[in-house]
C-alpha cells in the first residue's frame, strides 16, 4: 500500500468496516495488527497516528519494514503498559476470542482509549450450531477454521454473549455491525442476527 496512491487499496471487508469507524486525524492502537493492512490504511488514508501490537515476530518485522509503528506484544500482558487515554481508539480485530482474559482486555482497552472497536466470530452462527447439534463435533467454519486441538481461540462467544458482557461492564455499544458469511452487513433483529451473523464488529464507548 503506497501513501502516494490516491485510491485506497482494497483491504478485508471487516477491516474496511473498522477503518470506516475511525475518524480522521486521531490516534489509534491496533492490537493484533497482523501484517499491518489496517494500520497502513489508517495511516495513509485517514492520517491517523496508528500504532500496532502483534504477537508474531514475523508479523511485527514485516510491519516495521513497511514503515509502520509496531511492537511485539499481546493484549493480555502489554495493554497495561499504556497510560490512560493514550489513544482515541483501541482496535481488537478477530483477537478477543484468543485472549486469556477477554473481560480484562476490554476494560484495559477502554482505559487506554475512550472507544474500543472489537470484531469477533459469532459462535452462535447457524453453521456452528448445526455442526455441534447434528454433527456432534467441534465446529469448523470459514471464520473458525481450526481443529479443537490447535485452535488459538480459547474464549469464543456469541454476539448475545458479548452484548451481555458489555451490559455487565456498563459499556455503551455505539455501533454494532453484523456480517453474514459473505462478510456483508446484515440488518436483522438481535435474535436473528445472533443466528445469521458469522461475525460482528462493535464500537464500544466508556460510559
Amino acid at each position: 500500500m503506497k501513501g502516494e496512491s490516491a485510491v485506497p487499496a482494497a483491504i478485508r471487508v471487516d477491516l474496511q468496516l473498522i477503518a470506516d469507524m475511525v475518524a480522521p486525524d486521531t490516534r489509534a492502537l491496533d492490537v493484533g495488527c497482523g501484517d499491518g493492512a489496517l494500520l497502513a490504511y489508517l495511516t495513509n488514508f485517514k492520517r491517523v497516528d496508528a500504532r500496532g501490537m502483534e504477537l508474531s515476530q514475523a508479523g511485527v518485522n514485516a510491519c516495521v519494514a513497511n514503515g509502520l509503528s509496531v511492537i511485539q506484544g499481546d493484549a493480555d500482558a502489554d495493554l497495561r503498559a499504556y497510560p490512560d487515554n493514550a489513544f482515541d481508539y483501541v482496535i481488537l480485530s478477530q483477537t478477543l476470542q484468543a485472549t486469556r482474559e477477554p473481560r480484562e482486555v476490554l476494560l484495559q482497552m477502554l482505559r487506554v482509549a475512550e472507544r474500543a472497536i472489537v470484531s469477533f466470530p459469532n459462535f452462535a452462527h447457524w453453521q456452528v450450531r448445526l455442526r455441534m447439534a447434528f454433527g456432534g463435533r467441534m465446529p469448523q467454519t470459514t471464520s473458525l477454521p481450526y481443529k479443537w486441538y490447535d485452535t488459538p481461540n480459547i474464549h469464543l462467544c456469541s454476539i448475545d454473549d458479548f452484548r451481555a458482557l458489555c451490559r455487565d461492564l456498563g459499556v455503551r455499544i455505539e455501533r454494532a455491525i453484523v456480517l453474514n458469511s459473505k462478510s456483508r452487513p446484515i440488518h436483522m433483529p438481535p435474535q436473528l442476527a445472533n443466528l445469521f451473523g458469522e461475525q460482528a464488529v462493535f464500537m464500544l464507548r466508556r460510559d
Binding site: G3, D49, R51, Q57, V60, N61, C63, V64, A65, N66, G67, L68, S69, V70, I71, Q72, G73, D78, A81, Y82, P83, A86
Partner: protein, 389 residues
Amino acid sequence: MLQDLTDAEQMALAQCRHAVLGADRPLSLDCGVDLGPYRVAYQTYGTLNDDKTNAILICHPLTCDQFVAERHPVTGKDGWWESLVGPGKVLDPARYFIICVNVLGHCMGSTGPLARDPATGQPWNLRFPVVTIADMVRAQAALLDHLGIPDLFCVIGGSMGGMQVLEWAATYPGRVFSAVPIACAAHHSAQNIAFHEVGRQAIMADPEWKGGDYRLHQTVPARGLAVARMTAHITYLSEQALQRKFGRALQDRNALGFGFDADFQVESYLRHQGSTFVDRFDANSYLYITRAMDYFDLAGAHGGVLANAFRGSSTRFCLMSFTSDWLFPTRESREIVHALNAAAANVSFVEVASDKGHDAFLLDEPEMFRTLSGFLKGAAAVRGLRQAA
C-alpha cells in the same frame, strides 16, 4: 591542543574533522568537573541539505570509532558499519548527512585520558575526570551547535551507541526526530559491570600499567589490555557461534600439545583479538569508556521511573535486539519499549533472529537492514524528507 598526540591519534585526525570546543563555555561533566577546552574528532559522509533536515548521527560502540564507512587510518580495516552506510546502502550519503563523533574519553582524537590537562600541562592519564554517557552526548550536542545543525533526523547506535541514542532522546527530545537504539539497555546490568570489572582489573594488574602513567614510563600495558579485550570479546559472541566457528578444532597441530600454547583454534582467535586490539586502543581509555557504560542508568537519572525519561516525547523510536545476544538480551530492550509505551511514545520494536550474539548488530543481518530501511522510510515520509527513487 594538537601537541603530544599519539601516532594513532595523529593518523585519525589526519583523516577526519575535529573541533576544539568549550574554551568559553566548558562542558559541565556529571562528576562535577568543568572540562574545557576539549577536542571532538568526528567524521561526516554526505551533505547537509538546505533545510538542515537530513542529518543522521551515528553513535559508535565501545571499541569502534568515527570511521564508520571507510578504511580505518590505524588498522587499515574496512569501516565498522560499512554494511549499513555507503552508496546504495540503507544509510546512503547521497540522501543523508551522516555524522559520527569519537566519544569523549576515547582515543581516536577526541579528548580523553591521553590528552593534557590544560591547568597543569601534564597528561591527564587517570587524573582525567570520569565521563558518563550523558557527558558524551553533551559533547556531541555542543558539536552540533558548533556546526549549526539544529536537530537530527535520526540518531542511531548499537550497544554503547544505543545507550547514547537513549540519552539523546531523553535529554534533547526536541532535537531527535527519530531514534534507533539497537542491542542495548537503559542501564548496565550487574553481569555486564562484572565483565567490565574483570577487564579493568586485568589492565590495572599489568605491571606495565604503572598506575595509569605508562606513557611517562614509555611502557604499554599490552597484556592487561589484551586480556580485557579477550574477556569482552567472548561476551560479544554466542555459545552457538563459538561452537559453529571453532568447536574443539586444534590450531596448526594434529594433537594436543600438553602445554599452555594455543592448542585450540578458539584460544588462538582470542589471542589474536587481544593482541590486535592493543595496537589500536589505549588502556586508560578502556577504563574510562567501560566505566561510562557501567554508570549508565537512565531510569536512575529520572527518579527511578524509566518512562519519565521519555514523557511528552514526539520522537519516533525503533528498537532492535537479537535473539542470541546475552550481553544485552531482548528482555532489556522490551523494558525500554514498555517505558516508551507508558510514555505513549511512538515506538516500534523488532527482535531479529540471529545466532551471532551481541556482535550481530555489526554484521550482515538482512532483517536488521530491512527494519531500519522501512522505519527510516516511514519517518522520512512524516518529516517530509525527499526520498531517492
